[in-house]
Symmetry: C2
Subunit: 132 residues, 2 copies
């Protein structure tokens, strides 16, 4: 059921500085900043050819990234996202295996159904699953 | 100069359990465990189609992963690896920009030159650069 790696999401305390690092120093192609108020983040996509990095910065008062940056002031990897054939089916299968899922499937930043798996069941990593 | 994402390396406290999670629960194709004594790890590769996850477990008394697991007993993302055209040239360019590099270029797990960038200069992430 597992398909491609969709992205690695990196929380950064300064989006401009992160953009400069990836674009000007490492020479990557990056997107313009994109505000996603429904997800509480402003994001910049770094094109890696085979996949992408998503640089995340908090947007609004209830951003899920704010607490992460309080714990990790320099930034850090927030989660990674794996594509699956069918998030709804995967949701049911994971539950059968005792893997905890954070909430019900919802529509993610790319307009597709996503779920987040509990880091305690994924070796300390916050794992997002998204419809391919 | 930046090319593809080569891999995400995930340190895990139990390699068998991690293999079962990715192979048996998520349905991924994974490799046999591979001992890399020069790098102080045993690794399993998870094929993601466009890139790979590398599950790392300490091997030997001086493994670089041991301290990470002491701090993160459940496991976690240890580093990610980006491919560049020429690690030696990148090494010089990064130094000019004040990006700290952890040691000189050495031969990595895939037999190619690699360098590691200081997490404090990469938004809290340990970043490996490898020749494409």
């Amino acid at each position: 059921m597992l398909k491609r790696l969709n992205h690695i999401a990196i929380a950064v305390p300064d989006l401009d500085q992160a953009a400069k690092f990836y674009r000007d120093i490492l020479g990557a192609t990056i997107s313009e900043p994109q505000a996603l108020p429904d997800h509480g983040v402003t994001t910049i996509f770094v094109d890696m050819g085979n996949t992408k990095l998503e640089l995340l910065h908090p947007l609004g008062d209830t951003s899920p990234v704010t607490k992460f940056l309080e714990k990790n002031p320099q930034g850090g990897i927030h989660h990674y996202c794996l594509e699956v054939e069918d998030v709804s089916r995967t949701y049911a299968e994971l539950a059968q295996h005792g893997i905890r899922i954070l909430g019900a499937p919802k529509i993610g930043a790319h307009g597709k159904p996503v779920i987040f798996l509990h880091p305690k069941d994924c070796f300390g990593c916050l794992v997002e699953l998204e419809d391919e």
